[in-house]
Symmetry: C2
């Protein structure tokens, strides 16, 4: 990824937080504290959060990159974050592990489909709510069968996901690319995969470079 | 499963409901309406719900089967429902799909370990809470890659689980036995598996027959 000599400001707005990129520095801001009206710089953004739509439409310095992805898909209502994640991708399985987990498969530049799963933190909260005495383990999960409740919960999150990704990898014979906050946890299971936590920002930069 | 000429009353108490077996008739009662003190018959029961413990201890007609399972395991704090599910099992993968999903692997009568995952309904509620505009599809999921959001969510629940179970099946070379309310959904994916929605009650009957 080349370094930009000029200033570049990007934003990726989710359902809980806005991730801001300011010349390579990334900051995560809770939506409670995110006021795009107070920002004067030109920001290129994507937003999966519909509630901001009318606010952004009034702000001339906020430029929506939603329609600039060159992804080819027949998937109805593919989220803009997923469209941007597969921008310019020839072949690959993109796994974006945030508050939700999305998996998208691209072969010969064509998006073949994908999945949406619950992220680890939401899963933990949901268990906490349902069965308060069950606790997730802090340790990462390895390949062996869990033999205590904490590991049964932690690996109950990782192992089904790992099995599915490995199955997709062997079926479509393409490499796996991980992004999103929780993705580093997967290095144990996929030592040969690509890990790029700023994949979306890097693709947004490509789009800005090409189109603006 | 033989038919009992004498009356037999069983209860399987969870975190949301109590499932009652009265001579082969099964009734699910919300815990709000479940008052063991008002029941006069002799009931053999298991309970994963710790909040009932002291109440049952005072009731002589409620007989706890917790310690009667012959399962051999090194798993710390294995839930009583899982102990009963693997009672007398020589080889098999038990998948119990209720408000939580448990997976337990038994080989040569030894419990090797297992998993705890979130059940489908809890997963749907958690998504609803987090991202209200996302809806799960009503249709069952088949083997193909999802190509719309509803299917991406529904298959995002089924496919990772199916992948994991198939991986375990091929690693341990034992048959898969499904139980629990949501398990019939898996018939598509595992046409050769055993489906027994009353597995726990059937094993409780075996225990009562042998011990009382």
């Amino acid at each position: 990824m080349k370094k930009y000599s000029t200033s570049l400001f990007l934003a990726d707005i989710g359902h809980t937080n806005a991730k801001l990129w300011r010349n390579g520095k990334v900051e995560t801001v809770s939506l409670r504290n995110f006021k795009p009206e107070n920002i004067k710089q030109t920001f290129y953004f994507i937003s999966v959060n519909k509630s901001y739509q009318s606010r952004f439409e009034k702000l001339k310095n906020w430029i929506n990159l939603e329609n600039f992805s060159n992804s080819q898909t027949t998937y109805e209502t593919l989220g803009v974050d997923r469209k941007i994640a597969i921008h310019d991708l020839e072949n690959g399985i993109i796994v974006d592990m945030g508050s939700a987990i999305t998996i998208d498969i691209v072969k010969s530049q064509k998006h073949l489909g994908g999945y949406i799963l619950l992220g680890k933190e939401s899963l933990m909260l949901s268990f906490k709510d349902k069965i308060p005495h069950l606790n997730f383990g802090n340790s990462l999960c390895d390949e062996v069968l869990p033999n205590k409740t904490e590991d049964a919960l932690t690996c109950g999150f990782y192992h089904p996901l790992v099995s599915l990704i490995r199955e997709l990898e062997s079926r479509y014979k393409v490499e796996v690319i991980f992004t999103g906050g929780d993705s580093t946890d997967m290095k144990n299971f996929f030592p040969k995969a690509i890990f790029n936590k700023n994949l979306l920002f890097h693709n947004m930069i490509k789009i800005v470079e090409t189109n603006f």
